[in-house]
């Protein structure tokens, strides 16, 4: 079961990294080179508030997930890992 979860998370992280690069126009960044614990905002990938709302749309379109409460955004969108886990948890529901 744990292996399954890790396999799924690995697939989600891979897809997520590709989507972040393409949908947020992160030129010059190779998806495979983004670390799993890469921080999304401020440092790390250096995303901003406009990227945050674009990620909401990305989640909707690609994972059928609605982020209802943006005040939770800081926690969910902290890193590639936290976002991938959020996707995993909400896709299962």
């Amino acid at each position: 079961m744990a292996d399954n979860k890790e396999e799924e998370l690995k697939a989600i992280r891979k897809k997520l990294k590709e989507l972040l690069v393409s949908q947020l126009s992160l030129e010059g960044i190779v998806p495979e080179k983004i670390k799993d614990d890469e921080i999304l905002f401020g440092e790390g990938l250096g995303l901003d508030s406009l990227d945050a709302v674009e990620i909401v749309v990305l989640l909707q379109r690609n994972f059928a997930i609605e982020v209802k409460d943006m005040s939770q955004g800081k926690k969910i969108f902290y890193s590639v890992d936290t976002l991938a886990n959020y996707i995993y948890d909400n896709q299962k529901k």
Binding site: L24, S25, L50, V53, E54, V57, Q60, R61
Partner: protein
Amino acid sequence: MYIAGMGIVFSGGRGAADFKKALNQGWEDAHQGKKVSKEIISDKIALEGARRADNFTKMAVLAAVDAFADSGLGAETKESLGIILATSLGPHVTTFKFLDDILTYGDQGVSPTLFSHSVHNAAVSYIALNLGSRGPTLTVTQFADSFSQALFIAKSWLQEKRCANILVGSVDQLGGEMEYILTTKAPELIPIEGSVFFLLTEKESANKYSLIFSNLRANINLNGFSCAAQALQ
């Protein structure tokens, strides 16, 4: 008003040298209806901070920063620059992409980034950000007469000392939808895709080109490219 610097982006390239070459080859016919390629507007250094920008904005930013660089003005003048951008049709390529989003994903599934860039003054915002300009900024649209109107306002701002130097330019795109519309309905409004910016000043000593903007009331329907052509004579 005197031209202290000029920047040009068009389907034949970027900068005065490319434009002069095109002029010698009869450029209007050669470049009418042609698109500005991705290669011409790929400049990671000049476009730093503009990763999300659409081509409309990229063309404007490059022409504007080139005009500033061409002027030789010191970096300390950037903060107080005025910026006026004139456009006939605005970033319609992005607007149509946004309409596409609405039809494909519904009212609740659209891209906020696309929307932000469909607002006409997004390009000026990027120029100001790129140059660190905190002076007055404006975007105007008046179909064929946009650039003339921008020059009128620039003249009044300089006379009022709202700013000492001002970037005035035009930018337009020709996307598929608009090409279809204009070809059928209003061929006289078909723009040349690209952007031209002039850095204008009231200091005669800064004048670099053959064209001086005066007697604006007598000149109608001026456009950026025809002015650039005159300036390079």
